[in-house]
């Protein structure tokens, strides 16, 4: 009660909307849109990276072309820098390996033996050294008396193009550059010979 004997206990009149209300709401909406756009850009980037890798080459699909520098002393009669497309007209046995790969040891002798058996028929053997450091790789090649062409897959570009799942993996490519067979396991001499015979028959 005040001096006039009047009670001023009336509930407060509702506050008028703050002046910045519209601006604040706009900021929130703009922030939300920016956040959604950022997430969208990240998704688009991830999608483009995945789609860039392409599909894994299977029997009947063209072998992705690539260039590779061969290890000195392991050219197998080819130039030191090779390009797969330059080998058209000759069947290619492309083997992914690594010196740390225990399963690769099992097929190393077979690969060399079969290479020697077929090299005069124009079959090219290409060893692609995957995720390996140079000294152990060269020691591995020396240990198994490898004489066919071998090179390093710099930055795993070839492995990515062929979408390999590990080592060893062997791609049999015909003289027209078409993948005819893919084997994800260590190979025996008999298996290798049979696959190469099929390539030569075509």
């Amino acid at each position: 009660m005040n001096s006039e004997g009047t009670l001023n206990a009336s509930p407060a009149t509702p506050a008028a909307p703050a002046k910045g209300n519209g601006k604040g709401r706009l900021l929130i909406v703009a922030g939300a849109v920016a956040a959604i756009a950022a997430v969208g850009v990240l998704f688009a980037l991830a999608f483009s990276l995945v789609s860039q890798q392409g599909a894994r080459p299977t029997a009947g699909s063209p072998a992705p072309d690539f260039s590779m520098a061969l290890y000195p002393g392991y050219t197998g009669g080819l130039p030191e820098q090779i390009k797969l497309s330059d080998l058209r007209g000759r069947p290619v046995v492309m083997n992914f390996w690594a010196s740390w790969c225990v399963e690769c040891f099992k097929e190393a002798d077979a690969l060399e033996a079969v290479y020697r058996k077929y090299k005069d028929q124009g079959v090219v053997f290409l060893g692609v050294d995957y995720l390996d450091t140079e000294a152990p790789a060269l020691a591995y090649l020396q240990q198994y008396n490898v004489t066919y062409a071998n090179g390093v897959d710099v930055q795993q570009k070839i492995a990515k193009a062929y979408r390999i799942t590990g080592v060893p993996e062997t791609f049999f490519i015909d003289k027209n550059g078409i993948v005819r067979e893919v084997i994800i396991a260590p190979l025996s001499e008999a298996q290798l010979s049979a696959s190469i015979d099929r390539l030569l028959e075509e």
Binding site: A9, T13, I28, L131, T133
Partner: protein
């Protein structure tokens, strides 16, 4: 006797110092340096795993390579550059700050700015609204003509005032 003792002491001291100096000069690079560099690299076969902490054959080989390069006199930058050149930038724990990876670096910062900006605006608006309510409530209690007018217009308040007057 004393001179002989000093001579023996000095010769033992000098020879042990020499042996230690030679041993340190020929010592291979300490493993902690290899470990520090390996910490900056990813295991190539185990997704998301650090090279230093990975016991696979691949990683053991890579760590041996780091040690071999350090023993050749290369520094950490040289070793990391070798690994990046041979195995690609994905081998590095921290992607290089170039155009293609700029979004990876900018996105978290941008997201944080947007998040804190939105939180800041919301909090500022809440505080503004609260202070507006306080001002309005204070104004209603004080001797204010508009408050009187609104009080008079309120039937409950009018009734209350009448009852109080009757009591008085």
């Amino acid at each position: 006797m004393m001179r002989r003792f000093i001579l023996i002491f000095l010769s033992v001291f000098v020879s042990s110092w020499l042996i230690t100096a030679i041993a340190f000069a020929q010592a291979p690079v300490p493993d902690d340096q290899t470990y520090r560099i390996a910490k900056q690299l990813n295991c190539p076969t185990c997704a998301g795993r650090n090279l230093a902490d990975c016991p696979t054959d691949t990683c053991t080989q890579w760590k041996n390579e780091i040690k071999a390069q350090l023993d050749q006199g290369k520094n950490a930058e040289d070793v990391l550059a070798y690994f990046e050149a041979r195995f690609g930038p994905t081998v590095l724990q921290e992607p290089p700050k170039d155009g293609t990876t700029a979004i990876l670096w900018a996105a978290p910062v941008g997201a944080a700015i947007v998040f804190f900006g939105v939180v800041g605006v919301v909090m500022w608006r809440m505080s503004q609204r609260r202070s507006a309510h306080t001002v309005a409530a204070t104004a209603a209690i004080g001797p204010n003509t508009s408050a009187h007018a609104s009080a008079a217009a309120d039937p409950f308040v009018s009734e209350l005032e009448r009852e109080v007057k009757d009591e008085l």
